[in-house]
Amino acid sequence: MSPEGAVRRRIDIPLLVIGLLVAVPLILLLALSFGRDPRAVPSVLVDKQAPTFSLRSLDGEEVSLEALRGKPVVLNFWSTWCVPCKQEHPVLQSAATRYDDKVAFYGVLYSDEPVKAKAYLKRAGSTYPTLVDPAGKIAVDYGVAGVPETYFIDENGVITHKQVGPVDWALLATLLGAP
């Protein structure tokens, strides 16, 4: 093989520049966009102060978030017409008993009638209070899109995690530690 035999490639500089100008931004844009889930509703409230509320429970007890300061709070938005809520119901109920002295569990009824919720809880069991949120005001304050959604609030009233969809034991153990 002689050096004269080597193929000398001729590079068209302007064409290369134009090609790169088109290709590089396109690849970057696709690389950035494909990683995203178009259905995911991003949560912007994490690491922010949890919106305060003062609501009445199904039993008529007045509950305000400020009064719960000093203890982590698990706030679960649910309704009786929601199937995944029924799926996570036993997990949350037994978790509330196990984390009894460490964490305060509260349910918030979302777009449902208190009568139906009372009947359901009588059947399925209830170990923590469910609060009634008339007109979904507090749900909107928390940026709730649908049920179930669960907010983990630390002892300083800061939201540490928002769970969209049912809660399971693995998640509770990760976020709250061993019961």
């Binding site: 844009l29 509703v41 305060t52 777009s111 007109a135 979904g136 304050d141 649908g146």
Partner: protein, 187 residues
């Protein structure tokens, strides 16, 4: 005469004092009355401005809700969706409008909770500028290129020497013969 004037002056002073006291009383009462109106409003919002006229509340609510994306729908605004979430959001918009918040403040309230995603027409910033200006810039470039190419096509190809005339290609005998015969045929 002087006694009468003095009496009149005293009367004036008393009247002014009464008016002043009355005004202070009214403002104090107003201040106390306004406070409970804030109840139930989110705690991260600044104090609202003057509330809109009663007959404007619904149209303002509709305008603002039309610009918010319903989180549980596919491509519907909060104003157009009958879903519970959208209804709750619309109720919140109406409440904030009634309290005297502006469209920008209400948009900020929802962005703080649902993210920029919630706005159907997000503000143009960062990469979004590329989306808005990119096509216009590309169109401009293509037009400029087309104009440049178009004008060069129109130019008369006069005084362009043939390759053979310049001496780039050696004339072969057949070509020479052909050209000679063609010249002979011309009138």
């Amino acid at each position: 005469m002087t006694a009468g004037r003095r009496a009149l002056r005293v009367l004036w002073i008393l009247l002014a004092a009464a008016l002043l006291l009355g005004w202070m009383d009214a403002t104090a009462a107003g201040g106390i009355e306004e406070a409970p109106a804030m109840e139930g409003l989110p705690d991260d919002l600044p104090p609202p401005g003057p509330p809109p006229a009663f007959d404007q509340v619904e149209s303002l609510t509709y305008t603002i809700a039309s610009g918010l994306r319903c989180p549980v729908c596919q491509g519907l605004s909060v104003a157009d969706s009958p879903s519970p979430t959208a209804v709750a959001m619309k109720d919140r918009v109406r409440e904030l409008v009634t309290a005297g918040y502006t469209e920008d403040q209400i948009d900020d309230y929802f962005v703080a909770r649902y993210g920029e995603w919630v706005l159907l027409s997000p503000p143009v910033q960062g990469l979004a500028w590329l989306l808005w200006l990119g096509p216009a810039v590309l169109l401009g470039l293509v037009l400029a290129w087309a104009v440049a190419v178009g004008t060069s096509w129109r130019r008369e190809p006069d005084a362009v020497p043939l390759p053979s005339d310049v001496g780039l290609i050696p004339k072969d005998p057949y070509e020479e013969q052909l050209l000679r015969e063609l010249e002979d045929d011309l009138p």
